[in-house]
Symmetry: D2
Subunit: 365 residues, 4 copies
């Protein structure tokens, strides 16, 4: 299994940018889990491009659950969700032919698939596939909510413009849940200006996200090799553009002493907590009951309008290319719901393994 993650709740992703459908199979949610199409639609809406400097591909995101659910509840058998690819303009992409778009997967796909890959619109590498992840992730997120586990992701920085970090994650993850452009401080306008500036330059910008997961009991995760960090990073590093993941203080640990880095324990109302949370809620790979906090580095969208040096990978010759078509100068806002989705699915999976496959089961029908 390559296009899958999870042990007890396994997600398999399929589809290409221009195939008839993209979709996901979840094998399997517990029986009796609520499948609320409005909740799924809302999650998909947060991932959709919305004009201001984002791709103009209109994705209808009309999803359909074709197995594994009846009457608004899961059956406990594999749930397959399909999203049709409707607004497909193949012609935009045909000029790429055998020119490798820099920092895209064109050349590596050719090396791996020997020329048989679907080249239209990025094929199987397309960010389009994350729509299916977001849709099934929305179901997982609702499951977690019923167990008191909440999560959320905000744009911590974008092209150098910075948001503040989580300080009261329990409240903040709920605050950002309804935001289209999730930030903790009023930096949206400045960030959007930065995006617009890049767009005018035919360029793009990178950024950093920050995620919090709250409400997990201590004791989840494994020392080797399924630490919380391991399983989350595994799923996160599949999301196109994510090139770094750090938990808690992360790379800042490199310049800290142990005496400042260590999180002192204390008892608060009968519950064991830590005064600081430099470890991001994880000790020895296992949750300690504090919020799980991590951040992800998102590289600038590689599709830019400026002319670039490249090669024709079939002819084996140097070349110049200019990428036309519909592209986002900053995908980071749209990466946030994808991060939420893979986190929700990963955490739900770990809970199902720990507490049994019926843990998320609705009351007996």
């Amino acid at each position: 299994m390559k296009n899958s993650f999870g042990q007890s709740i396994t997600v398999t992703l399929f589809g290409e940018s221009h195939s008839p459908y993209i979709g996901a199979v979840v094998d399997s949610f517990a029986p009796g889990v609520i499948v609320d199409e409005e909740v799924i639609r809302a999650a998909l809406n947060k991932r959709r491009p919305r004009g201001a400097g984002e791709t103009q591909r209109r994705e209808s995101d009309e999803f359909r659950i074709v197995s594994g659910a009846v009457g608004g509840r899961t059956t406990g058998t594999p749930l397959c969700l399909l999203i049709p690819n409707t607004d497909v303009k193949s012609e935009d992409y045909e000029s790429f032919s055998s020119l490798a778009r820099p920092s895209h997967a064109d050349f590596t796909a050719e090396a791996k698939y020997h020329g048989f890959q679907d080249k239209r619109g990025g094929g199987h590498f397309s960010g389009r596939l994350t729509a299916a992840l977001v849709a099934v992730g929305a179901i997982a997120r609702q499951m977690l909510g019923q167990k008191g586990v909440y999560l959320g992701t905000h744009v911590l920085s974008l092209g150098g413009v910075r948001d503040v970090k989580f300080t009261d994650a329990e409240r903040e993850v709920k605050d950002i849940a309804s935001m289209d452009f999730p930030v903790l401080s009023p930096v949206e306008d400045e960030m959007l200006s930065r995006v617009e500036e890049a767009r005018k330059d035919g360029d793009s910008v990178g950024g950093v996200t920050e995620t919090a997961i709250v409400g997990l009991e201590p004791g989840l995760g494994e020392p080797w090799f399924d630490s919380i960090e391991s399983v989350l990073s595994h799923a996160l590093f599949s999301i196109g553009g994510i090139k770094g993941v750090q938990f808690g203080a992360g790379f800042a640990f490199g310049e800290m002493n142990g005496s400042e880095a260590n999180d002192a324990f204390y008892v608060d109302g009968g519950k064991i907590k830590t005064k600081t949370n430099n470890n991001g809620g994880i000790n020895g790979g296992i949750t300690n009951g504090m919020p799980i906090i991590f951040s992800c580095a998102v590289k600038p969208t590689p599709s830019i309008s400026k002319e670039q040096d490249t090669v024709d990978y079939v002819k084996g010759e140097n070349a110049r290319m200019r990428i036309s078509g519909r592209h986002d100068p900053a995908i980071i806002r749209r990466v946030c719901p994808v991060i939420d989705a893979v986190c929700a699915l990963t955490i739900a999976d770990m809970l199902a393994a720990r507490y049994g496959t019926d843990y998320f089961c609705g009351a007996k029908k």
Copy 2:
């Protein structure tokens, strides 16, 4: 499987700090792979504490391969390697009882294992277990070398003292292979002074490592969810103290524009290369033939001599504790060979899946 990684070449780790043995089972190397005990011993020596400010626990690291190899060659069946725990001083640890050492796994282990965990010396969470990883990793590294794949890790920063980054990785990974304290520029003395300073303060220091893997052909890795970044980070985040992993420019991408971040392709002597390597040798989760470059954040050793606030997790009361015993103020030098080991095993596994289980097989006997 929790204590395992790899699909075609699966490594399972077992043991506790004070159990009779620690060890690893590899299921399975190809038949006919060279098992050179000197090479294994050399790798273990690089991981051993060496006086200057490092733990005084004397680990003999006498390993024994008890299955899966005959006459200096693997048989192709599971290879089990054992390392006895000889220099065990349980008494040092007994005072911990139910006081949770801050930023250690004592409290989370209690939550997960309900009090049945082996508490002596960190139990299953002990860095001691990495000796078995290093030993079997040395076999994998030799396998890779025979296919022209080399890798190495150096200390990029330690307590604020910085080494330079890889610039000519192909040469540099070979240069550092023989170093006990792997650095690319003459910063060893300054780094060791920084460690000594921390030791005198009863404190510890964090750092950052940088790793290069050279010689891989384009086309290795999967788009979803077994990207090169995913599988490497999964294994890396199990190593105690690693709290961040970034590939290529990593978190620096957050402040870059696409036009500076993109790696332009060009043809060099018939081979496709990139002018820069901000993507760390990976596009779309798949190798592009450039060196794979990543760095890891290593937190300061949580065991410090200063008195710390904590809790007694059985009584549920606040407490103060001072950790005595034998500890390293900086583990980062010793983390380098562990990173090399898990990388070698991970890459060997991916190659065996791609090219078949006999890819590393010696010539027919």
Copy 3:
């Protein structure tokens, strides 16, 4: 993963008898594999009910490949195949309500899924799902053919009427490939009379199948725990109605001496063969180059028209029931192509693991 099998080529099955679609995802065939829709259609036709005493449900079996293939070739990414459920008559099944059909999965599904299972037409347990297996299995079978590996299944016995066993499997598997009712000797009419007799009685009949796989080189399989017998039986025992699997002499070994059971080796034209094939082509879990021969026990269809004792599993009361609707008095003919499909997928998976993911790749495009 529960609804999956295979390591390198993993098949996941989804759908219910009355869900909008059933389908399968294959993750992943090699790139460049031929996807011939005529071959798939032919395989599906062999599985379809055909009047004479078989279910009258008309399944159109119109399949659609919605990802992972372009221009008649696989891309190397997950292939999703969908089959719509068109001829669905829910009303036939509604009378079952909470009466457990004897030897069906109604009661066990209730116990497992707590009442949330899709009860219409057997739900996820429906034999209908095997259509998706047969469709993707047809692709695998064509892949194997290009490597000189062929397989086929015939009805060895049906309601006491017996066919002969394979004696020249290499030829016979090709002979039966084109038969709608695969038998090695002229027993079709007698078998069909036996079925018709059962149908008139409102009863059903069981049978035994025999399968041969020819053309495999020696050396495929694992001693523990992925012996050829293990992986084949794992997949076979998922097929509804299969309650026994035996390799070579199978249960007849119980009354044999070693001197008659052992298969003596000899050299034939430079190739090592065995004089007898009591071991069904497998020694120590590994192919020996002789045809793999096994047989499967198929229980009589549990859906019969006779009135039966049962329980109402919701009320917890004894009851009597008569199953109406459309059912086969003998499914064994239709089980043959399903056996062929899971064998083809299993063997293709083992070959891809052994020889690499590109083993079945077409020539470079």
Copy 4:
């Protein structure tokens, strides 16, 4: 993973007939599980050769648990159990050299491992490895007992001499638990005479075992592809010599009508049961609460003293050979505890996946 089975409780087997140790790693039992060395020793004793016509290799079976248990309880981390190979007489086997013992794995091992396999005493294929399975299986069996689940295997037939089948499995599995030669009727002497007869002829005999598992609630297992039959047969078919597995009526279904094959449900004291148990306690791959009943075909030991035709697989020439050394004319008695072990481990694994990793956890320490 090839030498492993199980998802939540994974067993990995390693070692060769003449390697320093054989052993198993279990990843992982729940924390707090009782590890009773007397229980393990008793299970090993049932597997040991005992003079009368059985191999004269004296296996001391001195096991040692080297990780994952402290103070008679599991820790919840990987448990590694080692058994040293002490009574090793390599010389007996050296004459085999490159002559393939008929129906043994010599030739297939050569094909798979290209001559690098450990050829001494059957190497990794040796039945000796099952000692480690039996040892860790004994722990699993005790775990199951604490949940009211019991299992046992008897010799149903041996060289044509037949025992009766289970009729009151709940009682009978407890009766046979203490027997060295487990049978339900007084046929031991006749069976042993049959073995002695074979031994005198330099021959060996096959047989059939029957196993019952009682006390499982309805609802365990998966429709596709992890049916109870699938997972049990997968593990069973790894045991050397097992060539057939049938559940309930098994191959006898082939001659039955549905009306006699179907198991009618009825209510007995508020519990749903079936009047017959032709389905062996499994409907649709899922337990129905009745005893799980299956039988295994065990081929005659291939090591016989009679001279046999074979080949020299290195020279590629026909040859004659006579196997000397220490061998059992009937291994079936010794296969029974191995079947019990893999069943106990498999069922424990399925229960841990369904009810959570702590299901077998002892009370909090």
